[in-house]
């Protein structure tokens, strides 16, 4: 009953406390290496600030000590909300369009080749087009984020619908199920693993396109902040921005993995 679900390795070794500690030690060693490389001047400080300087920039930007400017916090919120809004729009339209296309084999035969053609197109390549149509404004960036992030969800939904067990489709026909009921009761649950995997990929794309959009359309956010920091040779602020972007990526991915785990529990029974 897991027609379209991806294969997953089940035999994950149990992770003990010792492993976790060792893993943390390796990470600490890497940071120590960073510290040594920047403090001893093996790599120019213009590119590689010390970890302390990065931390100080983070603390000031996020207003952790209560005496910073809180600039980075505002940028982070702007980027995160752009990413999440674009992702929600992308997921909504991806599932709707994907279900509309995937539910009928005839429509699939007509439309799917076009979709496969558009898929490898880089989402950011639409930015120039969107700029010339909509101008430089936040809605334009949001549009491109949503449009670029829609494809993985859309294609995953189409694929999930195409992979419905033929006997289930027959049962639905025998029961004279209306098409809407078929979509809701059979198609969507069946496509769920694909859709969730697509939504995870689409979150990654949302973040990337949001950052690129901020860079070239000068919308306030982390993308613009790190570009300006680099132009002004303020390496510690640049690294603070990169750290925050990594954190955003890490957190969103972890949250979605958690949600996926919860939502798909019924399938593994």
């Amino acid at each position: 009953m897991n027609g379209g679900s991806t294969e997953r390795s089940r035999e994950r070794p149990r992770e003990g406390f010792g492993d976790w500690l060792g893993s943390a030690a390796v990470l600490a060693a890497l940071i120590a290496l960073w510290w040594a490389a920047s403090s001893a001047g093996w790599v120019s400080r213009v590119f590689l600030p010390t970890p302390q300087a990065t931390l100080a920039s983070l603390a000031e930007g996020l207003n952790l000590g209560g005496n910073g400017n809180g600039e980075l916090l505002a940028f982070t919120l702007a980027t995160v909300s752009r990413m999440v809004e674009g992702w929600l729009l992308a997921s909504l339209f991806g599932v709707l369009l994907g279900a509309a296309i995937g539910v009928s084999p005839a429509v699939r035969a007509w439309v799917q080749p076009t979709l496969e053609f558009i898929r490898p197109l880089p989402a950011s390549a639409l930015l120039p087009l969107a700029i010339s149509i909509f101008g430089l404004n936040p809605a334009m960036v949001l549009f491109v984020v949503a449009f670029g992030a829609m494809w993985p969800v859309l294609l995953a939904t189409v694929h999930g619908f195409a992979a419905v067990e033929p006997r289930l489709a027959e049962v639905a026909r025998c029961l004279q199920m209306p098409r809407a009921a078929f979509v809701w009761k059979i198609g969507l649950p069946n496509a769920m693993p694909d859709i969730l995997a697509g939504m995870r990929l689409s979150m990654t794309i949302s973040l990337i396109v949001a950052v690129v959009g901020e860079m070239i359309a000068s919308q306030s956010g982390l993308g613009q902040a790190i570009l300006l920091a680099a132009r002004a040779f303020r390496a510690s602020e640049l690294f603070a921005g990169i750290v925050l972007l990594g954190l955003i990526g890490f957190t969103s991915n972890a949250l979605l993995a958690l949600a996926e785990n919860k939502l798909l529990r019924w399938q593994r029974a």
Binding site: V26, I216, L245
Partner: protein, 253 residues
């Protein structure tokens, strides 16, 4: 009937292009400078092909993407094999990988700019970073699924670690290696174009950006279409290559 079915895939793009053409012509008649009809885009693209800028920019993007992929793939495959063979190394590096992997590749654009300025090297670094992680993860899981008896044999034969990697593991993972490589090619192309649009004044992405900034919508749309065609052709070729390898190695995908 079969010949009619072969036409299906072309209907949708033809209708879309026709609609664009009609709409853009009307908009152009009303004095809009934002968009151009597809026919004008094709003409602009032919102009770019004639003066050589098309091939120069395409060559730059593809060459840089290929070099970046090469660096990312060599590092990713190497580390992937090492972590795949040693469960211990995999567990020890887990946290570091999980912390570094989610950093979006475009976040490194300003850093690469600072370190290398504009040109091949900055783009190459970012492509290498972006392709390194999927290669690492896919190769590691491929190595972990190598038939354990093969590894036992290599131990019985007393092969050194290097011989084991070259003679046993690499041949065993070739089909999956090509799956990873196909993904890597797709990522490399997207990232290369993105870097050019965001910062690097070279290649197809920049050509498109500059066409937009100089209010040449026909040329911009031409580039957009060209980038799409190049991406589609390369991805389709990689898919065929991957399937041919899988067939040749007697694996079913």
């Amino acid at each position: 009937m079969t010949d009619r079915r072969a036409l299906y895939p072309w209907v949708c793009p033809a209708v879309l292009l026709g609609l664009c053409e009609a709409y853009a012509r009307r908009a152009a008649a009303l004095g809009s400078e934002a968009i151009a009809p597809p026919s004008a885009a094709l003409k602009a693209l032919a102009g770019a092909a004639a003066d050589g800028s098309l091939w120069q920019a395409t060559g730059f993007t593809l060459g840089t993407a290929a070099l970046g992929l090469l660096v990312g793939a060599v590092l990713g495959v190497g580390l992937g094999i090492a972590l795949g063979l040693s469960r211990r190394a995999a567990r020890l590096s887990l946290l570091s990988i999980e912390v570094l992997r989610p950093v979006p590749s475009v976040a490194l654009i300003p850093l690469a700019m600072l370190m290398f300025g504009f040109g091949v090297r900055m783009e190459l670094c970012i492509v290498a970073f972006a392709t390194f992680w999927p290669m690492l993860v896919l190769v590691q899981s491929a190595v972990q699924q190598v038939e354990p008896r093969l590894l036992e044999v290599s131990r019985v034969l007393g092969l050194s670690a290097r011989e084991r990697a070259w003679k046993i593991v690499l041949p065993a993972i070739v089909p999956r290696l090509f799956v990873a490589l196909r993904l890597g090619v797709a990522v490399a192309l997207v990232v290369a174009v993105t870097v050019e649009i965001a910062a690097n004044p070279n290649g197809m992405g920049y050509a498109m950006m500059i066409a937009q900034q100089s209010f040449e919508p026909a040329l911009m749309l031409g580039w957009l279409g060209w980038i799409g065609v190049v991406g589609f052709v390369i991805n389709a070729a990689m898919l065929r290559l991957q399937r041919a390898v899988a067939r040749h190695m007697g694996h079913k995908q």
